[in-house]
Every structure is written in structure tokens, then in C-alpha cells.
Symmetry: C2
DNA sequence: AATAAAAACGGCACATATGCCGTTTTTATT
DNA sequence: AATAAAAACGGCATATGTGCCGTTTTTATT
């Protein structure tokens, strides 16, 4: 006697359901997606799926965690790289631009929808606070490193600068989801962000980066 | 013989339904609200409400139009005022700040939800393009007036500056809806916006405003 | 006051999502 | 191969929204 499938098998099935969920969430968005959709897309049975996820909220938050980790690990890598912090910021802005362009074919729209959805239940959902501060701190770390190596001489606090950047990037994402890159002028807006940063950070000219 | 109620009566009833809709949309958001909710809140009957609005989408877009008009008329008034354009920008930023603070008790969250909802049906909904360009052009007009009177000497195109402002303000709104003013640092972010504008617009010092 | 037309009412049929739960199938061990 | 436990299945009861449509009420005119 003794049944039970391996833990690895369970994990695999979890991922299968999540993959199905991702496809549906991208196609239909968060609100319009139902467990039925995810069940049908996965090709599994109702009871089977419910054994792993008992609501679309559970499926989605699992997907969200994966999505977030991809995002933050990029910035983490930037922090470990050599080179000037201004280069890192340039790379970050390129990364953001790419992500924003791809946004409509990815989970981004559903993620915003999801946030509005969870907002209805909690007052200020802790997950959102965590996500926000995490994103903001990532950016801030990049800037702090630039201050530490004498590359930046910010005229305002890094806290304010990083928050400003996050606001701008969120706004750009939202507008990109509803409109398109031509209408919002994606490229030039990223340039404006860098223009702002040059003034706010008072960065030394490129020669100084070798001082460190 | 001859029945019919007056046109004014009809309009009044329309408004009654819209008021009920607004209350429910603020309370439950766009997606979660149903016609049933609006019908119950209005105190009218199912058939009666359906005579005026045959879907929540119709109720909402009527409310959206009213909301937009309030918004844009403020900027219109700014454009007609005397004084420097920098003062106008300052007033605008105060207005935005106030609106953002009030956002959670108003239609703002539902409006964003609504946009995600209509996005699922159309590709790029014309309404959204219209709203975006209208908002952006309003801001641009403010800046153009400042260029015309010699107050601003922009180092980049006003198109880019105004789009940047709109992105930032949208991002700030979205973050404010999900978080709160302490976490996002609302005041200092508005200051950062003005900091950006001072550099992008290269505004003359306050004495020069009298040149016009 | 009578009347005819429009407005308002509200029940009902239809459609759709949820998720429980009894049944069947698969699994690892003996 | 037999077995017992877990996993997978899928039907069904429940709940909920929509909006049509026959009936009742209200309205302005005669």
C-alpha cells in the first residue's frame, strides 16, 4: 500500500496549469478570465485543477510572482555589473522600453487589472506596497551606487528621484497598454526621463567615471 | 389624446440614474458593478432603467463625459487667465495634486478599470486616443503660451514635454489609487515634475514675465 | 373626465460561473 | 498482481446577471 505521486510531478502539473492560465490571462485579461477558461485551456478536469488552485486569484498571483522575479533579477544583475551607473541607467531604460513594447502581448494589462481587482477587497493590499517599494528600492540602489562612486551629485534626495521614475514608468506602461508607441511617443519619453535624471543627478562627465 | 412626458423630465431621470450609477461605480468599481446594482441604487425598476440605458457601459460613458468636462474646463480657464504661464503650471499641478488625493473617493479607479475593459473589445479605442491627445494638447497649449510670451525657452519640443507630463501624472494617479500619498510621496513627486519643467522649459526668471 | 400613447414595472427565461462531491482512475508499495 | 491511498474526473446544485416583454400606471391632450 501507498499511493501519492512525486512532489516533482505535482510541481509540473502546477506549472502546466499556470501556463494555461497565462495564455488565457493574456488573451482575455484578468477580470474576463474564469476558472472554466483556465480549466479548458489546460485540458485538465475541473476537479483536477481545483486541487491545485481553488480560484483564478491563486493562479494569477503565482504567475505574478514569476513575472516579478524576472523583472527584478534584471536590475539585480545590473547592480552587479562593472561600468558606470549611468550606463546601468541607460541599460535599464532600454530594458523598460523593451518591456513596455512587449507589454500588450504579455501579462502587463492583466496585472494592472488584477491590482484594481484586489484593491476592492483590501484597503491597501500589502502585496502592492511590497511591489512598489521593491521596484523603487531597486532603482534607488542603482542611484546610490552612482553617488558612492562619485558619479552622481544629486540635487534632490534619491528617494524622490526613484519614486518619480517609478511613477513615470507606470504611467508610460498604462498609456502604452491603452494606446500605442506612436501616439505616446515612447522613445522620446524615455529620452525625457534621462534628461530629467541628468539634471537631478548632476552626473559628472564621462571621464570622471574612471576615478573609482 | 396625447401622452409623453416633457424632455426636461426625461433628462432629469437620466441624471437620477447616472447619480445612482456614480455611487455604485465608486463603491464597487466598474467591473464588479452590474445593472442590477444601478437599478437597485436608483430605486427605479428594471424596465424603467433599461429604457434610458441598456448597459452599464452606457451609464458609465455618460458619467465619464461629465467627469472629463469638469477636468478640461479647469485647464481651459487657466488658459484664459492673466499672469505668467509658470503660475498657470503651478496652479495646474496643485489642481492635479488635489484631484489625485480625492481620486479614491471619486470615479478615477473605475475609469481606469473601464479603460481596461473597453480595451478588450476594440483594438485601440478611439475614445482613449481622443482623451489622451486632448489632455496632452491642453498641457501643450499652456506651454505654448509661455513660449509665445517669451517666458519659456524649451530645449526640447513641447510635444515631448507635454507627453512626459501626461505619463507622469497618469502613473502618479495609478499609484495613488493602489497605495497612498505617504508611500508614493505625492508632494515631493509633484515638486520633481516642476523641477523637470524648469530645466526643460528654461524659463526666464520671474522679472521677465512682465515683458509681455 | 375620458382617452390613447408613452413610461414604468417586475417576473421570467436564458445564459454562465462556481465549486462541491461522489465516482472512477492512477499510482507506489507490498 | 493485489491493494489502499491519492489524484483526476465531470455532473450538478447553486448563485447571479441580463434583458425581453406582457401588464400596469402615469401622462398630456381633448
Amino acid at each position: 500500500m501507498s499511493p501519492k505521486v512525486t512532489q516533482a510531478y505535482k510541481e509540473l502539473k502546477r506549472q502546466k496549469i499556470m501556463e494555461a492560465g497565462k495564455i488565457v490571462f493574456i488573451r482575455k485579461g484578468y477580470e474576463q478570465t474564469t476558472m472554466k477558461d483556465i480549466i479548458e485551456e489546460s485540458g485538465l478536469s475541473k476537479g483536477g485543477v481545483y486541487l491545485y488552485f481553488s480560484s483564478k486569484e491563486e493562479v494569477f498571483s503565482a504567475l505574478l510572482e514569476v513575472s516579478d522575479n524576472e523583472y527584478f533579477s534584471f536590475i539585480q544583475r545590473l547592480l552587479e555589473e562593472d561600468g558606470t551607473q549611468w550606463d546601468a541607467i541607460t541599460k535599464l531604460s532600454e530594458f523598460i522600453k523593451r518591456k513596455i513594447i512587449e507589454a500588450n502581448d504579455e501579462l502587463a494589462p492583466a496585472i494592472y487589472e488584477y491590482f484594481f481587482s484586489v484593491k476592492r477587497n483590501n484597503q491597501v493590499p500589502p502585496l502592492l506596497v511590497k511591489r512598489y517599494t521593491r521596484a523603487q528600492n531597486c532603482v534607488k540602489s542603482l542611484l546610490e551606487r552612482g553617488v558612492a562612486n562619485g558619479e552622481f551629485h544629486p540635487v534632490v534626495s534619491l528617494e524622490e528621484i526613484s519614486k518619480f521614475m517609478v511613477s513615470f514608468m507606470d504611467g508610460l506602461s498604462v498609456n502604452m497598454i491603452h494606446l500605442n508607441s506612436e501616439i505616446i511617443g515612447l522613445d522620446s519619453q524615455i529620452d525625457q526621463m534621462l534628461f530629467y535624471l541628468r539634471h537631478a543627478l548632476q552626473r559628472s562627465n564621462s571621464d570622471k567615471k574612471n576615478m573609482l
